[in-house]
Symmetry: C2
Subunit: 374 residues, 2 copies
């Protein structure tokens, strides 16, 4: 019995509300599965050249080509590409009532050729609806945006934002500008119009036409790129706050997925302190930065830092109001998958239910009643 | 009586070892004071064009043009340019036994024209020796490096590294590459040869030819640039560790000045956890990242984050071993100056003496005996 099976066994039958998993990477077996949704010119180019997203830094990922070794379906298909295998390995054993599909294709949002990005995003979004959302009621989808073309991103939200299965606009953490920048505001307006959320997921940092992976240039090793995830989210968080995004769009809700967890509180202390001293420079920022965090932002739980002791965990957890701000994410099928059973130390029932279910239900507007049958 | 004077009054006569202040920004009254140390071609250019360091993002700083309003000498000279005024306002009242001069000229290290940078750095270093170190025994100096030319930086260390008043090679946190990169290693070799430390100080992030100020592009407001300081130090810290700098140069000691404090522990948790999973990719990194922090790095105390309560302060302080790793920095004469009296909550005598004196004495190799007279 593998660790996963042992863990799943323990989790199955958990009393209460079950789990909402906010980060499940589904994919296709072959990019040709997107061909029914792609214009002919891109089908022909991909046939000839391959998909060619414009490359990263040449670093490897961890695990088994980035995945859990046991997450490949028996027929050898890509991890995350087989709906039934995913249900059997993830949704059923861990009592996942809703699974937010985040896709294994985020690089397509980031190509320099924004027409190509827009075509790929639309194709992947259509594929997600037809092959995943239409086939399993527990899944919810993410609208991939060709983020380097804001107008095209808005059009994609207009096209799919009111689909009942789509819960969020979805962009990589790597970007041309911090996401508070005024150029992105039409996207937030479109999200609010359609009642969907704006979610960043780690990806594309330092890739293609984006800035170097750190603000002091390109690092050398994958582990440094991994560490740079937090830096990108710090920059986006400050940008949202100090550009006044949550004053302009008070109802906007945003999530930061896969960038770590415990950097949040010390960073907000820094921002609060500096805001107090410098707020005359950004008078449209009317509240302490940490207050905007409480009202407008959520943090994905994975990968959560291991603390040296329980007291440090509790202190940081409480300081960032994680009880109300954390969304459980498994990151399935990636090698650094967090099991619902193993990821946290023992917490009280209310905190556990919030982090595994109610926070995500509130963020995504998911029904609570429908999922209460035991 | 100003707050400063009131504070100084309380501090004066502090029993014990007094204070080592590791970040005092001295400067000249007029850049022409550097002319005796500058080649003619640069004197002529500065006469004609001004000093022209290649500009930042156009954001303002805080306070009174970045300074404490009361730090300008009575004759209206630049803050930090009058040695006697500085002694009267900072060294004497706060019982500062050693003051590490870090200069108010860091932009000169970062021009695209590295010949110009090299000339300015040498001139400022000579000026510091002649006008500051030679005149007041409590001061110690920093060797400004023209960091974009590694060979020239090494030459400057060779020229001045054995001067008894010079304690560190000094570079801005903004850089072309993370400082663990192999291209910088000759600098560390030269530091060790001359028994000096390698110290980064916030500056030049996003300026000139450096990467954008965040890894997701240029932010809009000064407070965001301020928040990006931490991001630069995160990148440098990971780079030092994962490039194996402290395996190649086990005796090298480096300091991170003015980038905040409480980001350190959660960041080291992240690095330790990822290193455990990914260490086969960097097999030359033989210890946990947090162990290299303990043996080879120091953190400047200013600006320290205000925590929501004492318990959070103690937890983060202990988690980063601040008792042994923190160097007191006032950042005089900047507006966000930290007074030795007000900066920390009450701590036990051993911790207080370490942070205000012994850690810096150890890092810089400063005499302890000479300063024990009360």
């Amino acid at each position: 019995m593998s660790l996963l099976e042992a863990t799943a066994k323990k989790t199955k039958g958990r009393k209460g509300v079950g789990v909402i998993d906010c980060d499940i990477h589904h994919t296709f077996q072959d990019i040709k599965q997107l061909f029914p949704y792609l214009p002919r010119k891109y089908r022909e180019r991909i046939e000839l050249w391959g998909a060619n997203f414009g490359g990263g830094p040449g670093t490897m990922n961890g695990g088994n080509i980035g995945k859990r070794a046991d997450s490949f379906p028996p027929d050898g298909a890509p991890a995350g590409s087989d709906l039934n295998f995913m249900i059997d390995q993830l949704l059923d054993p861990f009592d996942i009532r809703y699974g937010i599909l985040t896709g294994e294709f985020i690089a397509c949002t980031n190509t320099a050729d924004t027409y190509y990005s827009a075509a790929l995003c639309s194709a992947f979004n259509d594929y997600t609806i037809e092959h995943w959302l239409d086939k399993e009621p527990r899944f919810r989808g993410s609208i991939y945006l060709p983020i380097h073309d804001v107008a095209a991103s808005v059009r994609e939200i207009e096209r799919l934002g009111s689909h009942p299965g789509m819960v969020q606009a979805y962009v990589p953490s790597g970007s041309h500008h911090p996401y508070g920048n005024k150029m992105y505001h039409p996207i937030y307006e479109a999200c609010l119009k359609h009642g969907i959320k704006f979610t960043m997921h780690v990806g594309a940092i330092g890739d293609g036409m984006n800035a170097p992976a750190t603000n002091v240039g390109y690092p050398s090793y994958y582990i440094e790129y991994r560490a740079a995830r937090t830096q990108a989210y710090m920059a986006h968080m400050a940008s949202f706050i100090f550009e006044g995004v949550f004053e302009i769009f008070p109802e906007l809700q945003v999530a930061f997925i896969e960038g770590g967890v415990f950097w949040v509180a010390p960073y907000l202390w820094r921002l609060d302190q500096d805001w107090r001293a410098l707020r005359e420079q950004t008078p449209w920022v009317k509240k302490k930065p940490s207050e905007y965090f409480l009202t407008n932002m959520y943090i994905g739980s994975q990968p959560i830092e291991e603390t040296p002791n329980r007291q440090a965990f509790d202190t940081l957890f409480e300081a960032m109001h994680a009880k109300d701000k954390l969304l459980f994410c498994s990151d399935y099928p990636h090698w650094d998958f967090d099991s619902p059973k193993l990821v946290f130390p023992k917490m009280d029932k209310e905190t556990t239910d919030n982090v595994f279910y109610y926070n995500a239900a509130k963020f995504y507007g998911l029904s609570i009643q429908d999922n209460m049958e035991e």
